[in-house]
């Protein structure tokens, strides 16, 4: 059984003006998240990530389609005891101390006072806030709020953790801490579903990734597969002392050739041309400096797929 199953989810928001068509934010979105994996939900701002998460958490209702978590339809109150949630740019009761805050959320999840006394300090320590336990949240920095927010999402030891942009607004150290925490959660056998618009976050820690643009899921799969599948990898070869009069032969193989002093950079469109290029280098007595396969980053996929998704809309708009 998958941890999250979303099937044909559509959400339209009514416009405030009569006669204006509703805005479609989710357009038949379907995806599934397997148990025990870290799933990255990647998309540009305004693509529908937060709306999807809001539907999952029962904050808004879908116009059509269905969604289920841990085998129960969204909206099932009991299931929420097994789910942890951190919203985007969270704001909490700032009159509470970090300790009181976690005790409050723990009590709402049905944890007894005894268990809370043991769990709260341990969790504050995990998120690096042990020193700030008795400080009111109004005195917390943005990064600290994000971390205490993560702690409240984990206070009841949930099976499934849903995080909306958990790394936004954090400095590099904070981002690393959050990434490490997410990886620890996977080690504990939990499922993590998190949204982001920052590609390296996904590349570094996700088992699988779903790319959402304009409310539609454009691609889903393992990070490596998405980066190579259907997209040719280029290879950069650098050599020295290649005879100038023979560069024509290299040009026939390369997508691009750059000469700087005695060095030549050969960009091959795919790895299949590498043996030929190496043969030429050897044949003409040049020295090989380096061979670097260039992986297409998710970024390229992101823009390519995004542009493809936008294209029909633009075409429709043309007279």
């Amino acid at each position: 059984m998958d941890a999250i199953v979303v099937d044909g989810l559509t959400k339209r928001f009514r416009s405030g003006w009569p006669g204006r068509p509703p805005a479609t934010v989710l357009d038949g979105l379907s995806l599934s998240v397997r148990r025990g994996e870290i799933f990255g939900f990647l998309g540009p701002n305004g693509s529908g990530k937060t709306t999807t998460i809001k539907v999952l958490m029962g904050l808004i209702r879908a116009t059509s389609g269905s969604a289920a978590m841990l085998g129960k339809p969204v909206g099932d109150v009991r299931t929420r005891a097994r789910i942890g949630f951190l919203p985007e740019a969270p704001y909490f009761y700032d009159y509470l101390t970090a300790e009181e805050f976690l005790e409050f959320y723990g009590a709402l999840a049905g944890i007894g006072r005894q268990d809370l006394h043991a769990r709260v300090p341990a969790l504050l320590d995990t998120v690096g806030l042990a020193d700030a336990a008795t400080r009111q949240l109004r005195k917390f920095s943005k990064g600290m709020l994000q971390r205490v927010g993560l702690a409240q999402a984990l206070i009841h030891d949930p099976e499934l953790v849903i995080l909306d942009e958990p790394m936004s607004g954090l400095d590099p150290i904070g981002r690393k801490q959050v990434r490490d925490l997410i990886l620890t959660l996977r080690e504990q056998g939990k499922t993590v579903f998190f949204s982001t618009h920052i590609i390296p976050d996904v590349e570094m820690i996700c088992d699988r990734v779903g790319v959402i643009v304009k409310g539609r899921l454009l691609a889903v799969g393992k990070v490596d597969d998405l980066m190579t599948q259907g997209h040719t990898q280029s290879v950069e070869v650098v050599c020295r002392e290649f005879p100038m009069e023979r560069t024509q032969e290299l040009r026939a193989l390369a997508a691009r050739l750059v000469q700087t002093g005695r060095q030549v950079l050969i960009v091959l469109p795919g790895p299949e041309r590498l043996p030929d290029a190496l043969d030429l280098i050897r044949k003409h007595g040049a020295t090989l400096v380096s061979v670097t396969p260039q992986k297409h980053s998710l970024e390229e996929l992101f823009f390519k797929e995004g542009a493809r998704a936008a294209a029909p809309v633009e075409r429709r708009a043309m007279p």
Partner: protein, 254 residues
């Protein structure tokens, strides 16, 4: 039920840590102090002035808290998005609304108790009689606060804080003028005016039923039956309004 209590206690803690409450408490004490000062300046009915103004201070401060804290109970949670993490917990939205309501009711109860204690102390200090009708009046003030808080919460589930304040204040004023409304309906010759005013009369809460301050200050008690039925009326009206608030809040998108 435990979730309701957890939210109620947190709401109570929130109001205890809010400076507004302390400012209002100082204001109430100042008002009671003023009654003593004014009583010294009056030639006649020395005790009546203290008794009257004390009851008015308890009622006024209570209503201010009910309306101005009540309208923020839910709307502030939505504006600040603190509601996101609460609604995502294993509690129903109705439990959340009830918890918020009971939290403020607890704050009001403590506030009325403290103010009543100060009030009774002032009366005793000045040798004014502390009689049963005064306690009856305070009890009915509390029922009125239950109702006004429910109204403020109801409006805040679907409108902004400013509009909620206007609606609640409007209903509070109308609620105290319902007897006049009945008079207008009787005197008016227009059928339309008669029916509109009659509708307003029956829909709006009759807060004058809960106002026995005038006669309490004179030492005239109300019957136990009146007190019980007026309390029942106020509590049922509040429960009805709360049910409406839960219904609306259940359907809201955030």
């Amino acid at each position: 039920m435990r979730s309701v209590a957890v939210i109620a206690l947190n709401t109570f803690r929130e109001s205890l840590r809010d400076r507004i409450l302390y400012n209002l408490a100082v204001f109430a004490l100042a008002l009671m102090g003023l009654s003593v000062l004014l009583a010294d300046l009056t030639v006649m009915e020395h005790h009546r002035m203290i008794t009257d103004m004390g009851l008015a201070a308890i009622s006024l401060v209570g209503v201010i808290i009910s309306i101005f804290v009540g309208i923020g109970l839910v709307s502030r949670e939505i504006e600040r998005r603190t509601v996101y993490t609460i609604v995502a917990r294993p509690i129903t939205r109705s439990q959340f609304v009830l918890g918020k309501y009971l939290g403020l009711v607890l704050t009001l109860a403590v506030n009325v108790l403290v103010m009543s204690a100060v009030y009774v102390s002032i009366l005793l200090l000045y040798g004014a009689p502390v009689r049963w009708p005064l306690l009856q009046a305070i009890q009915l003030i509390f029922v009125e606060l239950l109702l006004v808080t429910a109204l403020a919460l109801f409006f805040s589930t679907f409108s902004t804080s400013t509009l909620s304040a206007i609606f609640t204040l409007g209903l509070f004023v109308i609620g105290h003028l319902t007897a006049d409304l009945q008079g207008i309906a009787e005197k008016s010759k227009s059928g339309l005016v008669k029916s509109v005013v009659a509708a307003v009369y029956y829909i709006c809460p009759n807060l004058e039923l809960l106002n026995v301050k005038g006669q309490a200050a004179l030492g005239i008690p109300v019957t136990a039956l009146y007190q019980a039925s007026a309390s029942l009326y106020g509590t049922l009206y509040a429960a009805f309004v709360l049910a409406g608030a839960c219904l609306i809040f259940n359907r809201r998108d955030f």
